[in-house]
Amino acid sequence: MTNLKLGRRIVLRGLGGAVLTLPFLESVGRPPAAHADSETSYAVFFRQANGVAAAQSTELGSEPERFWPRDVGALTTDSLRDRSLDELTDYRSQLLVLGNVNGQNFDYGDGHARGALQCLTARGPTVTGAGGDSEAGGESLDHRLGRELNADGRDSWFMYAGRNSGWLGGPCISYRGAGDRRSPIHDPREGYMTLVGGDAGLSAEAQRQLAERGRSVNDLVRSQLARLMSTPQLSRADRDRIDLHQSAIRDIEVRLACQLPDDRVAELEGLGMAYDSTDGDEVLAAARLHMDVAALAIACGVTRSVAIQVGSGNDGSTRYRNLATGGQLENYHYLSHRRLSHDSSGAIISDADQLHAMVDRQFAATFRHLLDRLGEYAMPSGGTLLDCGVSCWLNDLGNGPAHSRQNLPWIIAGSAGGVLRQGEYLQVSGGDRSAVNIAQLLNTLATAVGVPMTNFGDSSLPGGTLDEMFV
């Protein structure tokens, strides 16, 4: 396990303000620990765009299966071999691979909007048929879980790698409410600085002074915001924004306890502007650094819900690595369409399904990085932080050319403390492709991490949970 340099105490705060104090992890070289009970559960959502290289028929002919396991049931080396998922073979006993997750055919006017804006909201659009201008019609699950699970009303974390522009405006999967899209942490360093709150190398006296100064300023700003809030002519929307601002103001001393080891801090510092890149290697490097920071934030109890989005609504500018040649592929959206255009009018890209599978494989390896990181945090009662929650790698489309809302890939790692089944490839809803079960899946995940829920998302969708996912 990686040696993490931690402060003397890490405090994990659970529901109802329960405080779990971790014992004296004071020296470099000792792995951090967390508490293995329901109050440490969490959820991470890692989103890929454009579907996967699944078996399908396109206008260019039939494409073989390159993603899904060979057989439903136990995940084995054989069932994963030569599929993109074989990057996760070492974790197969901790995976639940879901088949037959189906979204609703909401009228977003665009397949990518329908997938990306629905995947964590299970909602239709605020305005029908708006295509690239679409906004989701409700809160996303990552945000809801943050509201429910995080201490002190702290927001969930929303992180983004790739160009901060493009289809659907770029970052687009996390919502506070209808039409209220969240801004992401784009630079992983920003997430890390938010986590640590300052220089952890400060002396105790310097930390006291820093805290005193922060309190003095915060008190003043809070009073100014309160006076603005009392302005009678302020609109509801303006009040909501002041309210968000007020809730963002926090004292910082607790966060000084958590920090990454020097080599990972050096990686963060070395990233530069690569988080805002079209180079797939740089984009996925930024995603991995987001994961480093997110895992630490979870271990430190700063957040228990994280969404990490890679690429815009259609990831239409990122060029991932060609694993055969080492060069760059055409932009991912083109590959997913199998043609050199953002629609279906461009020239045909030869062997595009194989190239698409290369992208899938790189996302699988990136997801594995998250699992590696979560697995570094040992629990006092055995196991690791990975086991305590759910980490989901999801794709908001089933495939590229058809923008399918059916058979959406959801790969779940971690059992949420023994709640979810593992080591299986499971067809939910009995494999019935007509079953619209995205809301049920989100209910199930919320319930698994300690937020019982049966009616998340659009009220017209079937509610309840997918009980076949539970142990």
Binding site: G129, Y160, S165, L234, R241
Partner: protein, 550 residues
């Protein structure tokens, strides 16, 4: 919402298009008396954009360059329909951004109190009792940070912060420590981070803004930064409550280099220059293209806009139709110019007016709206229709069947086969709007180079795009540029974008009379872009608030 134009209904009946930002359907009407301009509702708390934060802190502390601290702020996620980065009602402060503000405030306050020259500007040693100096600093610097005079209560609160700082910055003396902590506080104050408008006394159907609020609207619209001393003085003297006073200040401010940066920024966003960064032609087809083409195209754009708006005092028509531009060696090669050019120095040139006319025949637009190998008439057409003519086009149907494999066709023929099949759902928008706007540009390849054949066949650049809602035959992009420059809708659309940019909200029904007036004067050549801006910022829409809240 603009007044409905009947011809549009006939044209777009199958396409579900509309003009402006709100769907306009038959029967919709602006219920205002003709010619009346009223302010549309908008937020009272417009948070500074990150670039505004940079410019404001630079001006506030009198720095030679921006601090760069704002570049690390978490990115803002903008509504999908936002053209510009400053939609006032959408910019918020969450925990991550708050942390960024905290750190930036700390770093800036430390720098200011560690640098004698900056400290002397921020909190000059005026002699006398230190308490008096502290109060003067709070009142003077606070008025600039808040962009209005502080109340006595506010002064008292800041002096309390000042007093608590002693001993909280290690060995720093008490006065300097006090100044530093107050600077941190002011940089985190909502009065600094937002442009707050509290005026609330109605005058009929409007709420006049006070002079300080007008000063901030002007400075952020024209400079993207805080007011300067002269603008503050004008506000203090009550000169910004009269149109003449505002005109005087607006013209002065437009002559300031900061206005050039703002006007270029407006056009960068309007013309989607950020998309230029995605120009990556296929090396198989364009092996000799510089990897810096996107950078060169951006530079050309900026120089062109600056030349037209500021050096020639031109109008929107000039942006749409001028054949003059700036090139380096790579752009000269693409434009097929004779002569010798360097890579780093851009020179003014006149392109062949039979081939190049206006900004949409320049490399940036053409290459950014192309695939890696071919022109992309669909995206070129959608952009012109939606962004330049303000004709909204509904999203395409999902899961459109691909055209299949067809050899020997031109790019245009392939697109036509795919999108213009009679009776198909695609044909409604493509045959009437999108393709006619896009096909005239087929004579420019994926890097914007002139071409006359495609796949061995002559290129057809003709079309009848719906200019002002009427199919208007054009032979090529040059004729289309002229048609756009003569279009009522195109000029009105440009005014709408300026409203969105300067006021941080979409143009609304209340703006229609202003849009029509400025649009027509722009179309008629009566308004340069600079004078269009002056007219806008002296309008009632700009100088007052709505009695309704957003």
């Amino acid at each position: 919402m603009r007044v409905f134009l009947p011809s549009l209904a006939l044209l777009l009946v199958a396409c579900q298009g509309f003009v402006g930002d709100t769907p306009v359907r038959p029967g919709d009407r602006n219920d205002l008396p003709e010619g009346v301009v009223l302010p549309a509702p908008q937020t009272r708390l417009a948070r500074l954009t990150h670039s505004q934060w940079e410019r404001t802190t630079q001006d506030l502390f009198g720095l030679d360059e921006p601090t760069g601290l704002g570049t690390s702020f978490r990115a803002d996620s903008l509504p999908g329909d936002a053209v510009f980065d400053n939609p006032g009602a959408a910019l918020d402060v969450d925990e991550v951004l708050w942390n960024g503000y905290q750190r930036a405030a700390g770093a800036l306050a430390e720098r200011a109190t560690s640098d004698a020259a900056i400290l002397a500007r921020v909190a000059p040693d005026t002699g006398g009792a230190v308490e008096d100096q502290a109060e003067r600093f709070v009142r003077d610097f606070g008025a600039r940070a808040h962009r209005r005079p502080l109340t006595d209560d506010e002064v008292g609160e800041y002096l309390h912060v000042y007093a608590t700082a002693a001993g909280l910055f290690g060995p720093l003396d008490a006065h300097t420590a006090g100044v530093r902590l107050v600077l941190e506080a002011m940089l985190q104050s909502p009065w600094f981070l937002y442009r707050v408008e509290t005026s609330r006394d109605p005058d009929g159907r409007i709420i006049p803004l006070d002079g300080w609020e007008v000063a901030s609207r002007l400075s952020y619209a024209l400079w993207g930064s805080m007011p300067d001393e002269e603008l503050f003085a004008a506000a203090a003297a009550g000169m910004l409550t009269t149109p003449d006073g505002v005109v005087t200040q607006a013209r002065r401010m437009l002559d300031d280099p900061r206005a050039e940066a703002t006007v270029v920024d407006f056009h960068r966003q309007l013309f989607d220059v950020r998309k230029f960064e995605g120009i990556v032609p296929s090396p198989d087809v364009f092996g000799d293209v510089s990897p810096r083409l996107a950078e060169f195209a951006t530079r050309e754009h900026d120089l062109f806009v600056t030349e037209m708006v500021f050096n020639r005092d031109g109008g929107y028509r000039d942006l749409l139709t001028s054949s003059d531009t700036f090139v380096n060696d790579e752009l000269a090669r693409i434009y097929e110019l004779d002569g010798t050019y360097s890579t780093e120095t851009f020179e003014p040139v006149s392109l062949d007016p039979a081939q190049r006319r206006g900004i949409f025949t320049q490399v940036g637009f053409l290459a950014a709206n192309a695939t890696t190998r071919s022109p992309d008439p669909i995206h070129r057409g959608v952009y012109l229709a939606e962004r330049i003519a303000c004709v909204h086009i509904d999203a395409p149907p999902e899961d459109t069947p691909p055209p299949g494999v067809m050899a020997g066709l031109t790019n245009r023929q392939t697109i036509e086969l795919h999108t213009e099949q009679p009776g198909s759902i695609c044909a409604g928008c493509h045959a009437q709007i999108i393709n006619p706007f896009g096909f005239p540009f087929e004579s420019y390849d994926a890097i914007g180079m002139w071409q006359t054949t495609d796949n061995g066949q002559p290129i057809d650049t003709s079309g009848s795009p719906p200019v002002d809602g009427v199919p208007t035959p054009v032979a090529d992009a040059v004729q289309l540029a002229d048609a756009l420059a003569d279009s009522e809708w195109v000029h009105e659309c440009y005014v709408r974008h300026w409203i969105e940019f300067t006021l941080g909200r979409h143009a609304a029904a209340e703006d229609q009379a202003l849009v029509a007036d400025l649009g027509e004067r722009s179309r008629a050549g009566e308004l340069s872009i600079k004078e269009l801006i002056v007219s806008l910022v002296t309008s009632r829409a700009f100088l007052t608030r709505s009695i309704e809240e957003l």
